[in-house]
């Protein structure tokens, strides 16, 4: 065995990788994509601006300096009440649900290698809603809505898998199974709503369209924790998921445990969807659109996890703000706004292009 030492390896400090920063500490190193950082920073700024607007605008408009004063615990009691008690929780709910839906969407799209395979389209939203409504109207077991929504999401996914047979998450059979499951879940939700008195049905109405008005603080806290864990998990899964984009034999030969990665990603996406539905109801189209936009904006071939989550939060906040302002004093539920804005895009996607994620 000969070791060639004729040309010494280049000194490490001189190495440059285009478009990246290379951080090193001892034997650990980290590559950071500059474009991704810039994109995320821009998104954060926009999100901050929109959030401030969302705090300031509404049926009672509050000037920005007042808003900031109220946020710092000063200002008049009225503005403090409106800003910190009414609008801030709602804003936070928008952030976390949007980010959770978008993250769930991007993970599932990537695993299924199909842009249409988002939790909303394969029926997870509807099933989670059916279960949550069951707990709200008090039929069946009286678990808390988040737990029930999670159960529903898990059941729907398992069913979709079982019905799709051996084809896994790829191919249309999985998606059409999801469509059928969604239809049945919707029917069951209607059965429950028509079987209970009017008050209970009205209490469950926000669940069926998707609204940030209906959030419960407990579910919100649970979702925030879940989102934190889910985000870290997704970051950990980034590399194996990228390898899964290669043909199956290749990814296996590279030493990826494809089955385990798929299972982990799917579980993650189900968890996030279930928790988010428990807060805001089915607003599933965010899960389709946010990753799409993120993919458009970021470097091709990268998995834009952070950008998707930020865009999800942004979309949700903007939609909620629009819903509050458009027909004021009436309030349009955020689910209706996202459906109106998102459906034409989904149609375009369906009719114009091959829905395969591999471009």
């Amino acid at each position: 065995m000969t070791v060639s030492t004729t040309s010494p390896p280049p000194a490490r400090s001189n190495t440059r990788i285009t478009g990246h920063w290379w951080l090193r500490a001892g034997r650990w190193s980290l590559l950071i994509n500059r474009r991704a950082v810039a994109l995320n920073l821009v998104l954060l700024l926009v999100l901050a601006a929109v959030s401030l607007a969302s705090l300031a605008l509404g049926s009672l408009s509050i000037p920005l300096p007042e808003v900031i004063r109220a946020l710092r615990g000063e200002g008049s009691p009225v503005t403090a009440l409106v800003v910190t008690e009414l609008r801030l929780p709602r804003l936070l709910a928008g952030w976390v649900t949007g980010a959770a839906f978008a993250l769930a969407g991007v993970v599932m799209q990537t695993l299924a290698r199909n842009r249409l395979a988002t939790p909303g389209i394969i029926g997870i939203d509807n099933a989670a809603t059916a279960f949550a409504v069951a707990s709200v109207v008090g039929t069946g077991v009286s678990l808390a809505p988040p737990a029930m929504a999670l159960t529903g999401a898990a059941c729907a996914t398992a069913l979709a898998f079982g019905l799709a047979g051996a084809t896994g998450t790829r191919g249309y059979r999985f998606i059409i199974s999801g469509v059928a499951i969604g239809a049945v879940s919707g029917a069951i939700t209607q059965v429950m709503l028509s079987a209970v008195p009017l008050d209970a049905a009205n209490a469950a109405y926000p669940w069926t369209v998707g609204s940030l008005n209906a959030r419960s603080p407990d579910a919100l806290r649970l979702l925030a924790v879940g989102l934190g864990i889910g985000y870290l998990l997704a970051l950990g899964l980034r590399r194996p998921m990228a390898i899964l984009q290669l043909p199956e034999p290749v990814s296996t030969a590279l030493g990826t445990r494809t089955g385990q990665v798929r299972l982990a990603g799917l579980a993650l996406s189900v968890l996030l969807t279930g928790l988010a539905v428990a807060v805001a109801g089915p607003v599933g189209l965010v899960a389709l659109i946010a990753p799409e936009l993120a993919r458009l904006a970021s470097h091709p071939g990268r998995l834009p996890l952070t950008a998707s989550a930020l865009l999800g939060a942004l979309l949700m906040t903007v939609s909620d703000l629009a819903g509050r302002l458009l027909l004021s004093p009436l309030e349009i539920p955020v689910g209706i706004i996202t459906a109106l804005a998102g459906s034409p895009y989904l149609l375009w996607l369906l009719l114009r292009q091959s829905p395969d994620i591999n471009r």
Binding site: L116, I176, V184, A195, I332, I336, A339, L340
Partner: protein
């Protein structure tokens, strides 16, 4: 089983379903009394329930089933897609949205003309036809269904928006949109008859060219037919039928999928034989589902749309799970 027996089974089922629908209901009328009222005797109240409540309901249910079943079979033959169904493709949703708009502008469901619903259905049909003519989508049944589901979702959101704007309309739309044939009256049924008659005439003239279109556009042209004209006529018929059904019962999903599926299973792929079998199967399905909707949670009622969804979704799965997607 000889062919004749096979063709007679659906008619027998229809008869059974109709009898069950007349004899059983959510009310406290025992079926023996209903039966004696049916043969012309019995109590005054029983006769009233039977003739004024259950009979119109039976007629409306049968008409809706007939219209949706035939419309589904025609749409499937036209798009050559076994999943094409008025409910799944957004035709019913277009019709329902038009009706909701009309309610918002002051019409009530009682005075509602069938025409509004048919105009909406026509718009939905045009969308579907445009989508099937696009490159790539025509050959892909499932993608068409997904697009239809998207259109349906969009229109449903718009309808919810309308309901938000006007509370009175909301109350009226809410019960109608789940799909039900409860409380319909004779004059509503009469109002749909002219369009059904017109649809029948058009179907009879277009059925042979349509059957030849199943062999491909070129073959049909070689046989001296004009595919564009056939398409236009069939789309018009589908709009007439779906609009009439939606005006009567609200948007019902899956009926137009299940009925032709069953008919094809009995009769094979030929559109003419399929249509003949849709005549008994469609009414039988809807009437049976309606009877179930009265009995399952008696004394209250389930919306009919719930039952058809619970029946139809598994059938959708069966079709998709078939090893090879059946092509028409």
């Amino acid at each position: 089983m000889t062919t004749r027996v096979r063709y007679l089974i659906p008619w027998g089922l229809l008869l059974l379903a109709a009898l069950a629908s007349l004899l059983f209901g959510a009310g406290s009328l025992p079926w023996q009394e209903a039966a004696s009222a049916l043969v012309g005797q019995g109590h005054e109240d029983a006769r009233f329930v039977l003739l004024e409540l259950r009979l119109p309901r039976l007629a409306v249910g049968a008409t809706v089933g007939l219209a949706l079943g035939v419309a589904g079979a025609l749409l499937q033959a036209l798009t050559r897609n076994p999943l094409a169904e008025p409910g799944l493709l957004g035709v019913s949703a277009g019709s329902a949205f038009a009706v909701s708009l009309a309610i918002l502008f002051g019409a009530s469901t009682a005075t509602l003309t069938t025409l509004v619903a048919q105009a909406g259905a026509l718009a939905g049909c045009a969308l579907v036809l445009a989508a099937t003519r696009l490159q790539g989508t025509g050959q892909d049944p499932v993608r068409l269904v997904l697009a239809g589901a998207t259109v349906t979702g969009l229109l449903l959101s718009l309808t919810s928006l309308l309901m938000l704007i006007d509370q009175r309309a909301a109350d009226e739309i809410r019960f109608w949109i789940t799909g039900s044939v409860a409380g319909r009256q004779w004059h509503q049924w009469w109002a749909t008859l002219p369009s059904l008659a017109l649809a029948t005439v058009v179907i009879l003239t277009v059925i042979r060219p349509l059957a030849s279109l199943a062999l491909g556009e070129r073959v049909a042209m070689g046989l001296g037919h004009r595919p564009g004209l056939i398409r236009l006529l069939v789309i018009l018929v589908v709009a007439l039928l779906v609009g009439a059904a939606t005006a009567l019962a609200g948007p019902l999903v899956f009926v137009g999928l299940v009925v032709p599926f069953a008919a094809r299973a009995l009769a094979g792929a030929d559109i003419r034989r399929t249509l003949w079998l849709c005549l008994p199967i469609g009414p039988a399905l809807v009437v049976f589902a309606d009877t179930l909707s009265r009995l399952l949670v008696a004394p209250s009622e389930l919306p009919l749309g719930v039952i058809t969804a619970l029946v139809g979704a598994p059938v959708l799965m069966v079709i998709v799970r078939a090893r090879r997607m059946p092509t028409l």
